[in-house]
Chain length 309, copies 2
């Protein structure tokens, strides 16, 4: 399967940032025969049709999944349970069902009970995306050089798994298999906690008085600007992530708060050596991140330089 | 003064990221006659000479400031008091003394007592820089389109102030005057608190066990990567900033911690509406940042898009 069609008929449920990126990626590379698109939003559907992202457009996911060999759920994860329940009777035997949700254990709990025998449910999460929403936000190049994590359940059949891996690999992604619980823990650190903190600090700035708030925006190049970008992400998607990865997020948040108190105390008491020690340690992690990317020379995002301090 | 030399003889104390950027910026634009460079570090001095950043090189700031019409202190702010004391007897009457330190009130307290009559001390802070250190990290374009804040003391003579503003304006900066206390408060939000938080979260990740830490680095594209960049900044510079802007940083940190506790509680109790409400509000701030930049179409830094989630 190094060229040609990997799945004959694909259904995409949700045609926003992620869904439209997948549509573009597989289209541009000729990896699927036809694409059936479903979305709650009339506007998203109409726009997807204008952009020619699919071959058919439906408000009803149940309609879209009929005869599909591959179904990809690309909606906020709070909707997964109801979607799985709705499409279950219409799934084709032998079909692969996957998703792109940013949390995996909760998704498995919500979806798995509805999956009929003979349908292969393989949960997934591409570590790729932006803070933008909607069908215009997507890009066919989004997955190039990015990790795409799969968290297959025990007993997953090897052929459907290999086929799904082929699809995402041929979209340019680096596919990795991880246990769902481990995924949720690592992502709590690399993504969920950073977003929570960015949301918080931008919210803190929101409560300043008007003139100060205006100047915070004007002088945002000193670090704050990066946080506003993260905190500009889709509110419903992120609400659902925090509600569905509660344990891991709260655990990491607890550790973070303790570490922050330690620094707060060091600042209060003028303990410069403690500050310097930590700030020197964190440089090592930065070096690790740079090396990890250098070892794999692909674009991880354009962020990296030239921000004001 | 729309072209030609603005200051005949400039002394730069500290030839790292900021000092070397200034040297390059004024050189490339022909804004000063000669540049005398001083730095504690032999290596930085030697490298500066290799790069041709100055006309003379000294370990002693006292030597470099002799006959200088403009002296710019570009070292970590913890060194300012001793430097001011050391150069004071050697400053030329009528000279302008300025700096680039990221905190202004503490800098004024440290420097002002040493400034001889007839020397014009005008504290400053360019909102520009990167996380890198040393003479190779600088760029002559660093200040283009960036704010350069001056916090002149009461009674500052208008001519030297205007001349200094001309210099930085002709380096491409947007010069703004602010009261020092107000500067410190706004920067605590836009820069100091974001750095403290980034250092903390990267430190939290450092304490994970080995395998997890490795995967956090591999999957860092989901938000964490931006934090590691910030947390890769110069440890001594940042130690000094926190020690010298203690009150404002602690006040903002207090507010931040309260806001974070509120979110923590909302996650624990599954209060999705509270999360969504905040996440929607923060989008407004993001919009403000984007609009502020669009109103002034210049590069504020390359960070902005395409990071994995
Ligand atoms: N964005 C990222 O960076 C990123 C990265 C990795 C994974 N993910 C995951 O990708 C998923 C989608 O995120 P996204 O950024 O693509 O969001 P998005 O741009 O907002 O797209 C989601 C689309 O799904 C539609 N939708 C919502 N509920 C639905 C339902 N019950 N049935 C059918 N359609 C529904 C939305 O319509 P409305 O607009 O009317 O609500 C919208 O058109 C999330 O689960 C997220 O965790 C996102
Ligand atoms: N980087 C930014 O983003 C940024 C932005 C705005 C303002 N600033 C401000 O700019 C200043 C310098 O930052 P930077 O990023 O340019 O740092 P940097 O690259 O580390 O350069 C500082 C230079 O000063 C030297 N130095 C240290 N103590 C000295 C002393 N007592 N006398 C003479 N030289 C001394 C250092 O030598 P050693 O290496 O031997 O210590 C180094 O060569 C800081 O006050 C900071 O607050 C920085």
């Amino acid at each position: 399967m190094t060229d040609g069609i990997v799945f004959e008929r694909m259904a995409l449920i949700g045609i926003g940032n992620l869904g439209s990126s997948i549509a573009r990626a597989v289209r541009e590379r000729g990896l699927v025969g036809t694409i059936a698109v479903a979305d709650f939003s009339d506007r998203a559907l109409a726009r997807a049709a204008e952009l020619g992202l699919g071959d058919s457009y439906d408000e009803s996911p149940a309609e879209a999944v009929k005869d599909a060999d591959l179904v990809v759920i690309c909606t906020p994860i709070g909707t997964y349970g109801a979607i799985a329940e709705g499409i279950a009777p219409h799934l084709k035997p032998g079909a692969v069902l996957t998703d792109v949700g940013s949390v995996k254990q909760a998704v498995i709990s919500a979806v798995q009970p509805h999956v009929p025998d003979g349908v292969h449910f393989i949960p997934g999460h591409p570590i790729a995306g932006t803070e933008k929403s909607g069908p215009d936000a997507g890009s066919g190049a989004l997955f190039e050089g990015r990790f795409w994590i799969l968290t297959p359940l025990e007993g997953t059949a090897p052929e459907p798994l290999a086929r799904l891996e082929t699809l995402w690999t041929r979209c340019g992604a680096l596919v990795e298999e991880l246990p769902a619980a481990y995924h949720d823990k690592v992502l709590a650190v690399t993504s969920h906690l950073p977003h929570l903190i960015a949301y918080t600090i931008v919210g803190t700035a929101f409560d300043l008085e008007e003139q100060e708030q205006r100047d915070v925006i004007r002088f945002s190049a000193g670090g704050f600007r990066d946080f506003t970008r993260i905190a500009g992400s889709n509110p419903i998607m992120w609400r659902d992530i925090f509600l569905n990865n509660r344990e891991a997020v709260l655990e990491m948040l607890q550790r973070f708060s303790e570490d922050l108190s330690y620094l707060q105390r060091a600042i209060r008491w003028g303990e410069g050596d403690k500050l310097q020690e930590l700030f020197t340690k964190t440089r090592e992690i930065r070096r690790g991140v740079i090396e990890a990317n250098q070892a794999r020379p692909f674009p991880y995002g354009t962020s990296g330089n030239g921000n004001g301090k």
